[in-house]
């Protein structure tokens, strides 16, 4: 998809599918992720139409039966998390940025990197193939609680369930390989002079996210093997009639599942940090403190998992511990958010599109974060668990992360990736056309959740309290807002492809940014740096008093202070 033509010697296949270049692998992940986002968004459209207009014909799909509804929700959730948020935030940005920002020519292990994408692609194919098998794709929720997910006669999608499980497992393998590579590259291959605290925050956060992923995914991989055997070899790991325990899966799942939300949160936070620093022309307020809070989040994320299981049949005494740790984890995140806001103080804020997205991320994520407190305090979660309040909570975190921050990152690094600028006006229209409808989709869902709407239900017709007309109006509002939001995405897609050819030429450093990736031509050539850089300072030297320009790139020696011009 990328337009820049290098030497034409490698064939199309070698260049686009067999490349070991980190930038090409990043593009592969990015475009796969975006394609999956369209699929996941399409599913959201279909089931929201069903909720807005129950049992009506959905244009572009048909009638949504209960079974299909479940499959749509399950696939929406799994795709958005595993095949959109992960590949775009971690793999695409990680691959593109790590070697460029730490100042080396490629990943430490380029072929492992290529293998990672190939396994990921395989997982996509396995997942999509489940749409073709008898019974259709898996419909037992993205959490796949057994015995429902383990027994074909319970879920009625035996083949789909197994394919889903295999796809998730393959995806994990892909990200384990990728994450290990990121970690090693960042630890070992930094430019000379780049000390621990000279690493840009986005790199820190992607690497820490990879490490959290690595440490939390293991038990679930083990669990996946057990579930696979339960499905296909009639073992009874999760079958209580044969000595197994269905709760075990829930624990293994959430031991991974909760850290996973921070695995996607951190890269988004990192992207936002870069953007804010550049467009506010400010050093990040308390760079080290941000890092300490990140470590704290990383560690604490391993001790809160059972807050998803307060009423799942765990011993009630355990809930107290997990409730306390859950509120505890809000402390470092609060601090991190406050530090970002404080960065704005004393700055000179340019509201270009990337900055709009970054600020939008903070504003929206805070709403998602504080609603987590309602859920984390065990007493109220009794009522709110598995209602639309939870749905609204995590869409207020996930959409800012996987959509808003990703758009921020894309608009920010687009010039670097493709050598051209995106159209600013279209960008702003797209921003407002996404963020406003986003709130109109999910604020009503907070209310329906508070009024008792449970999740994963294709129609509320049988529930007298839930079929009050007032609630149906809210659901309808949400659905219509989704239609608006989706239509505005067309502007982005147009802008994206149109600008590939017609955008203004970007030059090496259009945003006057201080990190290393902006010192090379856009798009960066194979091998990235003509001369391998040496690093002299931290990544956020903006607003310097007395310089000719208000910033100093990381690779400019102290004596040359003042006479650099990208």
């Amino acid at each position: 998809m990328s337009t820049h033509v290098e030497h034409a010697e490698p064939g199309i296949f070698r260049k686009y599918f067999w490349s070991t270049d980190h930038k090409m692998i990043a593009m592969q992940y990015l475009f796969t992720g975006m394609a999956m986002a369209l699929i996941g968004g399409y599913f959201a459209y279909v089931f929201r139409m069903q909720l807005g207009f129950p049992n009506q014909y959905v244009p572009g799909y048909g009638i949504v039966t209960p079974g299909r509804y479940n499959a749509l929700v399950t696939m929406h959730g799994s795709i958005m998390i595993f095949w959109v948020a992960m590949p775009v935030l971690i793999a695409a940005f990680g691959n593109f940025l790590i070697p460029l920002m730490v100042g080396c020519d490629d990943m430490a292990f380029p072929r492992i990197n290529r293998l990672s994408y190939q396994i990921f692609l395989l997982s996509v194919l396995v997942l999509l193939s489940s749409f073709l098998v008898k019974g259709g794709p898996f419909g037992g929720a993205w959490t796949a609680y057994p015995p429902l997910s383990a027994v074909g006669s319970y879920n009625l999608t035996p083949a789909g369930a197994t394919l889903w499980l295999v796809a998730v497992a393959l995806e994990f393998v892909a990200f384990l390989l990728g994450g290990i590579n990121f970690t090693v590259t960042t630890m070992n291959s930094r430019a000379p002079g780049m000390k621990m605290y000279d690493i840009p925050l986005v790199i820190w956060m992607i690497v820490l996210a990879s490490i959290i992923f690595m440490c939390s995914a293991g038990p679930l991989i083990a669990g996946a093997v057990m579930l696979l055997f339960d499905q296909t070899m009639s073992t009874g790991f999760f079958d209580p009639t044969r000595g197994g325990d269905p709760l075990l899966w829930q624990h293994l799942f959430w031991f991974f599942g909760h850290p996973e939300v921070y695995v996607v949160l951190l890269p988004a936070m990192g992207i936002v940090a870069e953007i804010i620093a550049v467009f506010a022309r400010k050093k990040i307020f308390g760079y080290k403190t941000v890092l300490y809070t990140t470590w704290a989040v990383g560690f604490l994320s391993f001790v809160v998992w059972a807050h998803h299981q307060f009423v799942a049949g765990i011993d009630p005494r355990m809930a107290n511990i997990f409730s306390i740790t859950t509120l505890l984890i809000s402390v470092p995140i609060t601090e991190m958010v406050f530090l970002y806001i404080a960065t704005l103080y004393g700055g000179s804020i340019h509201l270009d599109t990337p900055m709009l997205w970054a600020l939008g991320f903070i504003a929206e994520f805070m709403v998602g974060g504080v609603t987590g407190i309602f859920l984390g305090s065990s007493g109220t979660d009794i009522y709110l668990h598995d209602t639309y309040f939870v749905i609204a909570h995590f869409h207020y975190t996930f959409v800012p992360i996987a959509i808003i921050a990703v758009y921020g990152g894309l608009t920010f690094w687009y010039p670097k990736m493709f050598g051209r600028m995106l159209n600013e006006t279209l960008g702003k229209i797209h921003f407002w056309g996404t963020v406003i409808p986003f709130n109109v989709i999910f604020i009503p869902l907070f209310i329906t959740g508070t009024a008792g709407d449970q999740r994963r239900v294709y129609s509320y017709a049988l529930f007298a309290e839930q079929s009050r007309p007032a609630l149906q109006h809210l659901r309808l509002t949400s659905t219509i807002a989704l239609l608006v939001m989706l239509s505005f995405q067309l502007i982005f897609i147009f802008n994206f492809f149109w600008s590939l050819r017609n955008g203004k030429s970007a030059g090496a450093n259009p945003w006057r940014s201080a990190t290393l990736e902006w010192t090379v031509p856009s798009p960066p050539p194979h091998g990235n740096f003509a001369v391998m850089p040496t690093v002299y300072r931290g990544p956020y030297e903006y607003g310097l008093p007395g310089g000719a320009d208000d910033y100093v790139p990381q690779n400019v020696p102290d004596q040359a202070f003042g006479d650099q011009n990208s």
Partner: protein, 116 residues
Amino acid sequence: MTTETHVDHTNYVKIWAILVALLIVSVLGSMSHVREIVLIAAFGVALVKAYLVAKNFMHINVEKRWVPYLLIVCLLFIAILFAGVAPDVLKHNGLHWSKNPADVLVPSAAGATKNE
């Protein structure tokens, strides 16, 4: 490569001999009928063996400090997992819940296959 510390040939064979001796100990110990001896023979010896392999074959003691710490943190996470899950999975009853053989109160489960 851990060139810094040159460990000589005989050393490795000696460690191997100790490991094999420990293996024999654990097999013999397992024949005992005293539960404690079996457990120590089984797990105490396993810990010692694992330590010997990690130290002498993997040279974890001369590796950079944070490497063993990293591995220990991974083990710690597993310990946390265990501590969080055991109250539900390891036990058969707790506060206001108990595991029941499925066929006791739910007649339709009586037909389900039961092993052991």
